[in-house]
Symmetry: none
Subunit: 413 residues, 2 copies
């Protein structure tokens, strides 16, 4: 079954609000075999809503509408829906009783606006909203279905879980959908595509692949659609496993695990403690590692040595090394790793020094020159990057790249 | 001028990706007087893209398309645009030279897929993409305009800033818009609104105010629209200045200056060096301070003391303090400030220790208990926070709050 999402509200168009509802609904609907054909946002205006409904029903048999059900005056959705289904609004005592009860819990009285809010399209089946005052509405006319919900994320999610999804599931007679997700780092999208071309070219018709590139990482998603849930899952997993085996070490996880979580899992399994010594990344690698709940089990800390005297005093990088090779050099990052291990008493450390830009480059070492070292006592590996992005992106890219080098190093222990 | 945004990509529909591009574009376009009439996402499918273009041009004279310009085979946007404008794709040597040059910087060779990517609609004016291989495309036909860009946020933003917005601005003949932006931190939205109620109630009709709350910060934006550019600017600035004077120390900048930039400016002006000692924020405050280009002039570094033995060994927090008061205590963060100042030889330091959650809380110190200290040698101030958000948000909120405490402390020196 195909669905179209229609979200209503000026705040979604002028950039005040980032629409996170649609992504959540997309995921939940996919899980019950409903594909999203399109997603449309329009302003709080009757004609725009009517045009939007027309567009959505032209592309899907199910339309999910969010927004525009509250008591304030920019909310006109309900009237538009009644018009669309040639229906009228009538006062619903049950809804009003519910609002009164809801308000009494917080010692408040409903206003006239709330009473107006209780006029409902007579054809709509109401779905109880346990987190707010406006109920959900379910319209079914022939092979057209429409679910309308408030735009507040917690209310929308509550309504979907407590009624919306099961209504949809009951009228959905379509095929099943299965996703298989592989997370890679350190390999470009085009290179990956070439590596697995032979496998992708044998894909059955029911299976498609998407490349979702991030910074220094690419997510691969296989999507299977078909009548036989068991069979498409089995075939997809078999082909996914062939891709994983072809890409080898570049795959750091299946599913939605983050790279910093994957690093943490390996460290925990192997009983290794970690630390970072950062110059140009300024603490960003440390921030990523500690963003994982429970990271204190393996992560001890970082010395952010932004100034050269901190590199010398606190990481024991020799003055001679800095004078001879510079703060951005293979020699310096190697000594940073050794210094950090000695200082913080960790098993494995990663160190970074580079020129994030936009200033600070020289002909020898242009902006974007980055040295990375990762290692344990007596065994340190290095890599050099030459980046061409903005300061922010150079820092973010370097951080992900360094985390991936740390992961590969831990795998080898 | 009205615009419609069309985003292309299955990943936007099935919930894999949250669309942050549209909100950013909405804000930028609003700033040059362009309103967004609708926002539509469709899958990687020719008919859906064609229908989407029709819908968008029915509602706006400018259509902004993102997504579907990369080298992999789920990308079909370009052909659809050529069809739509009754155009054809021809090989563009300039684009190929650019890709070759881009790859040579990282010692790589373009593939056949990259060559295919260089076939461009002949009617499109290409806009240089400094952050990727696919250029932007600008179509102008009568009173219809279309800008097509890759969906990768950094590339889209780069193309908008370096060509896209100015192309749009040149064909937009609407009334003048003037924005006056005030950045505040450490004061809630409701409290601010009460403080400035008397001023806002005197606003002329052409002027409106928006409260844009962030984490531990609120941006206030005055928007003036009118025929007389000079006059609306003058009146808006006068009212803005009254608001700034009412809010006092809470305002850290006018315009889009970030809090970490404001901190850096004060440190630079006063010739003070800075450092951080972080536990639960894990390096995030350091990351924010070093995200500012030129921060090495005043920022020396950080010790991220995630483990207690790092707090003791490297920040000289006494074992007695940790045993008696705990790692999350006023005493510990005060000693962290002193220890950091002695270790890194900085003038002013900020220290943070807390329980970011979701685990690690106790009845005495529940999740969200955070201690912050800021000071110089012999003079340290502290603050306690009790937060109730998720781990990520607790860390982000604490970081901004601590930066603001640092700013206020520097202002007082």
């Amino acid at each position: 079954m195909n669905a179209a999402i229609l979200t209503i509200g000026d705040e979604l168009l002028n950039g005040q609000t980032i629409d996170t509802n649609a992504a959540w609904m997309g995921q939940e609907l996919n899980l019950i075999g409903v594909s999203i054909a399109s997603k449309l946002s329009v302003g709080d205006e009757a004609q725009a809503i009517k045009d939007g409904l027309d567009y959505c029903f032209n592309h899907a048999s199910l339309v999910i509408v969010t927004g525009g059900l509250g008591p304030t005056k920019d909310d006109i959705t309900k009237g538009c829906l009644a018009n669309y289904f040639e229906d009228e609004l009538t006062f619903d005592q049950g809804s009003y009783d519910k609002i009164k009860e809801y308000f009494s819990r917080t010692n408040r009285q409903p206003t006239e606006a709330h009473k107006l809010q209780c006029h409902m399209p007579s054809k709509a089946e109401l779905i109880d909203n346990q987190r707010g005052t406006a109920p959900g509405m379910w319209f079914a006319e022939g092979d057209k279905f429409l679910l309308s919900m408030p735009g507040v994320p917690s209310e929308m999610k509550g309504l979907m879980k407590n009624g919306g999804l099961s209504k949809i599931d009951a009228v959905n007679t379509q095929q099943n959908i299965y996703h298989y997700i592989m997370q890679t780092a350190g390999m470009g999208e085009t290179y990956i595509a070439e590596q697995i071309e032979d496998i992708v070219s044998t894909f059955p018709d029911f299976l498609s692949i998407a490349y979702l590139p991030g910074l220094a990482s690419v997510k691969l998603r296989l999507t299977a659609k078909g009548a036989d849930a068991e069979q498409i899952k089995k075939e997809t997993e078999a082909l996914g496993a062939r891709i994983v085996s072809t890409l080898g070490d570049a795959v750091f996880a299946l599913g939605n695990t983050k790279l910093e979580e994957a690093v943490g899992q390996i460290a925990k399994e192997k009983g290794l403690t970690l630390g970072t010594a950062e110059s140009c990344t300024g603490g960003n690698i440390s921030r990523l590692l500690t963003s994982v709940s429970g990271s204190s089990a393996y992560y001890k800390g970082s010395i952010v040595a932004y100034a050269n005297d901190v590199k010398m005093n606190d990481l024991n990088v020799s003055e001679d090394t800095i004078n001879t090779h510079g703060a951005v050099s293979e020699e310096t990052v190697m000594e940073m790793v050794e210094g950090l291990i000695n200082r913080l008493h960790v098993d494995v450390a990663v160190a970074v020094s580079g020129i994030a830009g936009p200033t600070g480059g020289t002909p020898d070492k242009p902006v974007g020159t980055i040295w990375i070292a990762v290692g344990r006592k007596g065994h340190v590996l290095t890599k050099k990057l030459q980046l061409t992005k903005t300061r922010d992106l150079n820092i973010s890219y370097t951080s992900v790249f360094a985390l991936n080098e740390l992961r590969r190093y831990l795998n080898g222990i």
